[in-house]
C-alpha cells in the first residue's frame, strides 16, 4: 500500500531562480491547503445578510475565516477546516430559520482551487506584469476583491494585508496552478522574488 494520504500541493516544482531576500523582495507562498468553501445565495437572502460582505470586498468572520464576495451571489470562505465548517453551519442554520433553505448551496473547492499569497512592497509591481488590474491603494485597498485574468488564467484576487504589509491572495483553478506559479516567479524575478 502507498504512504498515508496527505494533501498534495498543485505546485510540484519550483523553478531555479536567485533571490537575495532584500527588504523590498516580494514573497510567494503556496497556501493551497487552505479550506475553500464556496457559498451561493441570493443577494437579498437571510444568508447574504448574515454574511454581511458586499460584492468586491472581503472581511474576516469568526476571527479567522476570510469571506470574500467574489461574484454577485457568491462568497468564498477561506480558513482552517473547523473554522470554515463553523461558519458554514451557522449559515445553514440561518437559511433554515429563514424558511427558504433552497436559496443557499455550498461547494467544497478546497481541492479544486490553488491559493497563492504574494506579499511585500513589490507585490503589486510583480502582479502588474501579469494582470491588468489597477493596483493603486485607492482602487484595490485592503479587503478588496476582484476577478481577473492573471497571466491568462481566470483568478479571484483578494487584497489581504498581513503584518501591516501589502499582501494579495490569488485563487485559481488547480490544474493551472503550476503554470501560474511559474508565471508569477518569472514576473517577480526582476524584483528578486522569494518563495516562502
Amino acid at each position: 500500500m502507498s504512504e498515508p494520504a496527505t494533501f498534495a500541493s498543485p505546485v510540484v516544482s519550483i523553478p531555479d531562480f536567485h533571490s537575495g531576500m532584500g527588504i523590498a523582495v516580494p514573497t510567494l507562498r503556496d497556501e493551497s491547503t487552505t479550506t475553500k468553501m464556496l457559498v451561493r445565495a441570493d443577494n437579498d437572502s437571510a444568508v447574504a445578510a448574515s454574511l454581511g460582505v458586499s460584492f468586491g470586498s472581503a472581511i474576516l468572520k469568526g476571527g479567522n475565516v476570510l469571506v470574500a464576495a467574489t461574484r454577485p451571489t457568491e462568497w468564498l470562505a477561506l480558513g482552517d477546516p473547523a473554522s470554515v465548517a463553523a461558519v458554514i453551519d451557522q449559515l445553514v442554520a440561518v437559511a433554515e430559520e429563514s424558511g427558504n433553505p433552497n436559496h443557499m448551496s455550498t461547494v467544497d473547492l478546497t481541492h479544486g482551487r490553488a491559493l497563492f499569497r504574494i506579499s511585500g512592497a513589490a507585490a503589486a509591481k510583480t502582479l502588474e506584469k501579469v494582470c491588468s488590474l489597477d493596483w493603486a491603494d485607492n482602487m484595490m485597498p485592503d479587503g478588496a476583491v476582484a476577478s481577473a485574468s492573471v497571466a491568462k488564467v481566470t483568478c479571484d484576487i483578494i487584497r489581504n494585508n498581513q503584518y501591516e504589509q501589502t499582501s494579495y491572495l490569488i485563487a485559481s483553478d488547480r490544474s493551472s496552478a503550476q503554470y501560474l506559479f511559474d508565471a508569477i516567479i518569472d514576473a517577480g524575478a526582476e524584483f528578486d522574488i522569494a518563495v516562502v
Binding site: A5, N102, V130, K152, D173
Partner: protein
Amino acid sequence: MTRLPRQPGEVIDRSVPLRFTWNGKATTGFSGDTIASALAASDTRIFARSMKYHRPRGLLTADYWDPNGFVQVGDDPNVRSGHRLLEAGMEVSAQNVWPSLDFDIKAANGLVGRFLTAGFYYKTFMKPAKLWPTYEKVLARFAPGGTIDLDSPHRYHDKRYAHPDVVVAGGGPAGMAAAIAAASVGASVMLVEHNHHLGGALLWGTDVDRATGARLAAECMTSENIEVLLDSTVTGRYEDNWVAIVQRSHPIAVERLIKARAKSLVVAPGLIERPYVFAGNDKPGVMLSGAVRRLVNMYAVQPGSRAVVFTANDDGDQTARDLERVGIEVACTVDARRGENIVAAEGSTKSVESVVLGDGSSIDADLLITAVGWTAPTSLLNLAGDRPAYDPAAARFFSSRLPDNILVTGGLAGDGSLDELIEHGSATGNLAARRALVVAATLQKLTTRAAPLAGDPGEVPADDRAPLGRNPHPELHRSSTHGIVDYSEDVSSKDLFAAAKEGYDSVELIKRFTTATMGPAQGKLETVNTVAVLAEARGETIADVGTTVWRPPYAPITLGALGGRIFEPVRVSTVQSWHEAHNATPILAGQWIRPEHYGDPVGEVRNVRSGVGIIDVTPLGKLDLQGPDVPKLLNLLYTNKWVQLPIGGVRYGVMCAEDGVVMDDGVTARLGEQHYLMTTTSSGAGGVWEWAENWLQTAHPDWRVHVTPVTTAYTSINVAGPKSRELVSRLTDIDLDPQAFAYMQVRTGTVAGIDKCVMWRIGFTGELSYELHVPSGFGLHVWDTLMDVGADLGVAPFGLEAQRVMRLEKGHFIVGQDTDGLTKMPSVGMNGLIKLDKDDFSGKVELGLALDHTASLALPRLVAIQTTDPNIVPEEASQIVRAGTNEILGRITSSRMSPTLERSICLGQVLPEAAEPDTILTVVMTTGERITAKVMQHHAHFDPEGDRLRV
C-alpha cells in the same frame, strides 16, 4: 570628421573608450556615443547605400529618424545608428551592399534608374508569369535591410500594465514641465522620452538651454510621482486612452511593452526637422541643422571643414554660430528669409564638394546644412481622431480637435521662448492632472471594490491655458531642382510629379503607388514634402491636398516587443508528475497536457480488454448542480427526460443548440435530493457552464439552481476491464455487487482511505469500468494505490490513444470529431433520446422538423464502416464518393486499426442513400487511390449488445 575638443554640453565620457569594429576594421568611440557619432568621429562619411539606387548615403539627421543610418550590429539587423548607444565589442557593418560599402555593384541600379520609376513594382515582373519564380529570386537579392541569423538566441521581451494618471509623451522642456506640474498636484505621471536623455533640443542648445534642461530633468528624476522612461516611445494611442509604450534597453529585457491606461495623455514630442528637396540633397555631407548641432554639441564631432548654411529660422542661424565657435569655416550663410536659395549640391557621388546657389554662383564646401522648417509629428493626435490643419503662415500642421483626455504642448502646440514653452507645459500638466484626478475619482466612486470616496469627483476642468503663438516661417519644400523626397524609399520629387501625371494625384494613392512615406522613417521626414510636391504638381495648396492618415505605431516596433512575454496557460492533473515519471508521451488537448500513451497503445488496449487498466480522465468537464429546479434545467439542456432520474442513478444525454446541432454530450448523476453532478466533454466544459448560466440568468432567473464548475476539484480515474471490479473492490467501502451497483449508477464513499469520492459505473471503453472522482489533493495517492494493489491483476495505465481506439471499437462518437457544426442529432442515430413531448428543450423545434422531414432533408448519418481490405486504414477526413465519380457522399470521421478485431474500423458520415447496412462505399485515400468499404449493421464494431459492460 574628427573629434572636437571637449564641448560644454557633451554627453560622452572620454574616460571610457569603447572598441568596436566597422565593416571589420577596429574603431574606437566613447561611452555615451551613439554608433553614428562614434563612426562620424572616426571620419566615416558613408554609412549606408540607398534602398533602390544604392547611392552612397551619409548622416542626415544623426538621430533615431536618420534614414541613412541603418546598420547591422552582430546578428541584429536594421539598427538605427543615430540612436543606438555604442557598446564595447560591437561588430557594426553596412547593410545590403556587395561586395563593400565603398564599392557596391548594386549601384548599377542607378544606371537603369529611368526604368525604376514610381510604381515600377506594379508595372514590372508581371509577364511572362512563368518567370516569376526567377524574378523572385533575383528580387530577393536586392531586398533592402540587414540579415537575420535564424540561429540567434531568442531574447527576453517583457510586458507590463500600468494605470498612471498622466502619461507625458516627450521629455523636452514642455514635456518635463508638464510632468512636474502634474506630479506637483498629486498625479502619478509616466514621462516617456524617445531618446536616452531628457531635455530634447535643450541638449544641444545654449548654456542657458542646457542649464534649464538639467534643472528640469533633475526635478523629474527625483520626483516620487514621476516615473521617467528613457529610450522609450509612445507608439500608439487607442480607445479610452489606452497607450502603448515600448521601453527599450530595460535592465531585464531588450524591450518591454507597457500597456498604460492613462487618464490624461500629454503629447509633447517636439518637432522633427524637415529636409529640403533639391538636386544632390542626398549626397554625403548634406545635413539638417539639428544633426550638426547634435554632433557638435553632444558628441563633440566635427561634421565637416567648410560649410554652407541654408537657413530659414533661428536654428539655422544658431548652427552657423556653433560651427564658428568650434572653428569650422562657414563659407556662406544663405538666408531664405531674404529670398535666397540653394539649387544643387555638387561633387562626387560620395561627397558634397560645392553648393550651387539660387543666383547661379557656386561655393566650395564639404558640408551643406539646411534649416527649412519642421514636421509636426501629430500621429498620436490623429489616433485620437484629430485631423490636424495646415497653417501656411507657420508652415506646419496644428491640432484641430481633441478629446478632453488629450492635451498638446511644446512645439506641436505652437512657438515661444523657452520660458513660454515651459509655462505652457506647466499649465498643460496642471490641467492634465486636474482632469485625470476627476477621472480617477469617478472611477474610484464607480468601482465597487475601491476605497470609498469622500465627496464628489467634480466636473472636468475647462481648458484655461493661454495658447502659444505661431511664429511666421517661410514655406520651403522644394527648390527649382528635383531631389530626393523619401530617403528611405529612394523616391524623388520627379517620381511624384510622374505619379501625379499618371493619375495618382490623391495623397493616399500617391503614397501607395510610389511608396513615399512608407519606409522606416514612417513619414516623419518626408510626409510634408510629399504633400507639398503633390500640391505643386496639382497646382494647389498643401491645405487642399491634405495628408495621409497616421496610423500606429508612431515608430517602428519589433515583433518581439509586440509578442512580449507570451502567456500560454497549460493545465495538468494531479497525476501529471506520475505520467512524466513513467515516460508518458504527452499530447496537448486544448490547454490540457495529457498522456497519449505510455509507449505501447496497442498493448494498453489489449490489457484493458483482457485485464484491467486505469486512465487519468481528469479533464472531463464536471459541473456541480444544486437546487430544487435542477431537473428543469437538465430537461432544458438535454434532449431527453430527467425528471424521473432516481438518487444514485446516472443518465446519458445529448445537448443540442437551438438549431438542433449536437454541441456536447455526457452523463449526469443524481447524488442527492437536490444535488447532481454533470459531466461534459473535456473541451466543452467551459462552454456548457456558460450555456447553463446563460439559460438560468436570462430565460429562467426564477429557477433555483446553482451551477459550479468542479472539473479540477476531482481527479478522475477510469478503471476499466474485466478485472476492474476486483481491483476497485480492494480499495473501497462501496458495495460493488452488480445487483447493488449496476451499470449507469453512481455511489459516493471511500476509496483508498479517501472520503467523499464519487464513483460511477459507466463505460466509454465498452468494458466493465468504474469512474472514480477523487478529491484532487489526494488524486495521486489514489492513482498510486490502484497501481500498487492491482499489480497482481496486471493493472497498467492507458492513455488517450488506447481510449480512442476502444471507444471506436465500441462505436461511441466524439462530439467535434464525428460531428461537425452542421450535425443535427438525428444524424448520430439517437432519435430515441429526442423527447418531443417535453415542454421545451434547446433545439426542440428544429429537431421536430428534422424528424418530420427526415427524407426531404437528407441529413447525413453516422455509420460504422469497415474496409474491404482489413489492413487498410483510411485517414480521418478521407472523402467517400459515388463509385466511378467524384460526387461526395460523405467522409470518414474516425479510423483506427483495432487491436481487438485485428482489422481496420471506422466511423463516417454519409448521405442517407449510402447509409444502409451492407452498402459498399468508395473511399478516396489521400494518395488518390480508391478503396471499397462496407456500412455495418451497428455503430459498435465490438460487443454491440453491451454484454461486457453489464457484467
